[in-house]
Subunit: 220 residues, 4 copies
DNA sequence: CATGAATGAGGTTTCATTCAT
DNA sequence: GATGAATGAAACCTCATTCAT
């Protein structure tokens, strides 16, 4: 799924694909992409060099430029590619359920599960996506879409009566995202040593009920 | 409060200090530090150059190396310096109150207030502090200390009976940090265009009561 | 008229040539050569890439190396090939006339006509041939031969009594070449927007009579 | 006379120039410029590398970028700088005389003398200045100005009655330039082995009287 | 013969850091 | 202490050329 077809194109060849014609290209594209993400995860984007990525991918330095316009483009393609996949998965999992509560649950489970499945991706997302005045334009999309999903769930929950009606909408969305994000952060900083998914249920519980005790709340 | 006391320090020249003995030093140190943070906030750490910082600070490039060991060291000193100040303030404000609820409230108010007061710091903290890999050792300290403060409040609140007793301790702490962090993130990404502090009360409310409606909760 | 006959040549495969035996080869050779000249004319030799030439010629990059030893070789072959053709034409046109005056006239007409007919060639000749410590050896041949033709005409004209006898021989030859060359230069720089040939007669007149007025000359 | 004051400026220092304050800068600027021209003359612009230039100038590679924005900029500055100087000299020498004939003579003498004095400059001018496409905008200025000077002389000569009145103006200018240019070309290609200036008088004679014999002309 | 993906040497440029003044 | 010109390592990227298919 190479997306930088700009330069040379020659995307699918014009000869009919006999066996696994484009597969070679695809393979190498993903080989490089994964190598890059691994290196980015280990070294950070700016400290990573094309040479490291090339070595990790088992290709020559120049080869990388057959698939990516620049070092920046690698990160960009990664975000475009992974964001799409991940958001698709989120949406799919959310839609498996019908009521807002289960949907929120599914979203968070899905989120943690996906990031746990691909720790390098998790590291790079946490490290490069949520900052970096650098790729902001593109990455904000990811955040924006995520917040959109959360927003829909919240609204539905309010209609269903399971979520409070007196919520500061744009705040709640950040509240959810921030919580999950930081849980992943903790996991990443710990070196991915424990089961990230196991955080899902407790986290959902916290999101729904907060940390205040029932009795204390009663007094409010 | 220069901390790289290696090179030069007390030996204040052999000429008698005419005017403001250490003050000159201190001034320039902070001038550089603030200039650096401004530049880091605008360009990102890696895209910033010593020359930009020097120009912003109104000193020569070489002068920076009289106060800082390296470019990295600037960021480091910034974190050490600001972390200390900020955490002091947090603690002080937390201690202004006695009950856990008010303390949590104060912490979050303080947090948002401090970051709003110094947007450059906010940007740099959000952008560079969490990248881990790089400055992790030192910056983790900040996070760790922050989580410690939160932890103390939580424990106190549980003793007081105002916070739930069935809380996953290490998760709750991240839950609080993540929420605040993301609220700041949103504010930074929006360009600091609104009153960050105004988020404090709604956020505390969310943390305490969660997003679930009372009636729905009753069913659990 | 491929001249790098090293690699492959007559051995036209063992399979019988089905259609147009050598024609295919020749065609592709010229296709590449013309494509190259077009690209060289547009981009300059050094800024041109094999890929551009290949695309322009409608062949694969690698195919070019079946016909040319190297990128340099393309330029070289171009000069060899075009020089031969052009010089042939010059000589032929010169020989159409008998007296030196008409021969000079014919040479210059021919020169301007040929270059006008093939603007890409003109551009490349002007840009790469008359400089470039680069291809000097080969290209000097062209210049040398051209100067030779001019020289013969001059000598003949002196015998005929139509050209001055007190001419600095090697200078006169350069004088003629330089004039024509610069006229072409002007035309090329103007983007080939006017009729180059129309310069022939006025130029010949200038060469013969100079810019001095008759009366003024009388005083010398 | 560094002209790329863009980046850093700090041109004259603010401290009073004690001895030869800016001289150091100026020196190095010209050291690099001359080294570059020498290398360009030997290798051609495109085959020259920054490293070669740096070595020739006795500075580090990076130093070059303190004085020039890019490799291209070196050539550009050279043209700007040398063109100005050379054209000044031309004009000055032209103005030493009053009548058009002497002025043309002076121009050509000056032209050949200047180029002979600085063979590297001569080589680079001949090789790179006319390539157009590349630096055209700036270099065309040189050509344009030169043609302007020639044009003025021609017009004056026509008024004075020493030059023919039936001249194709834009052609004559090219005619003069082309002749001189090619004479220099020949000298450069010969390796500067002879006295270029000695060509001036014969060339002027050719320009004025042409190659046709008086008697032949009479018959026209 | 033809292809075009792959190679990797080599070039330009940046910039943290040093050090003579 | 302060300066800022100079350094040169190191990074990114291009593209002529090769070779397996």
């Amino acid at each position: 799924m190479p997306q930088n077809l700009d330069k040379k194109d020659k995307p699918q060849k014009d000869k009919p694909d006999k066996d696994i014609p484009v597969k070679g290209k695809k393979d190498k594209y993903h080989r490089i992409l994964n190598a890059a993400i691994k290196v980015f995860a280990e070294e950070g984007f700016f400290h990573s060099t094309i040479s490291q990525i090339a070595k990790e991918a088992g290709v020559a330095d120049g080869t990388i430029y057959l698939y990516f316009k620049s070092k920046d483009d690698i990160l960009l393609q990664f975000f475009n590619f992974k964001s799409a996949r991940v958001l698709d998965r989120f949406r799919k999992d959310v839609n498996e359920a019908n009521d807002a509560g289960s949907r929120l649950e599914n979203l968070i489970h899905s989120h943690l599960r996906e990031f746990q499945k691909d720790p390098n991706m998790a590291v790079v997302f946490q490290a490069e996506a949520r900052k970096g005045r650098y790729l902001e334009n593109r990455v904000n999309n990811l955040t924006k879409t995520y917040l959109g999903i959360v927003g829909e769930i919240i609204e539905q929950g309010q209609v269903e009566g399971v979520f409070r009606k007196d919520l500061y909408f744009s705040l709640v969305k950040r509240f959810v995202l921030g919580s999950v994000d930081e849980v992943i952060n903790a996991w990443v900083n710990a070196g991915g040593k424990y089961e990230l998914s196991s955080m899902a249920d407790p986290l959902v519980d916290l999101l729904l009920r907060g940390i205040g005790s029932r009795s204390a709340m009663a007094g409010q």
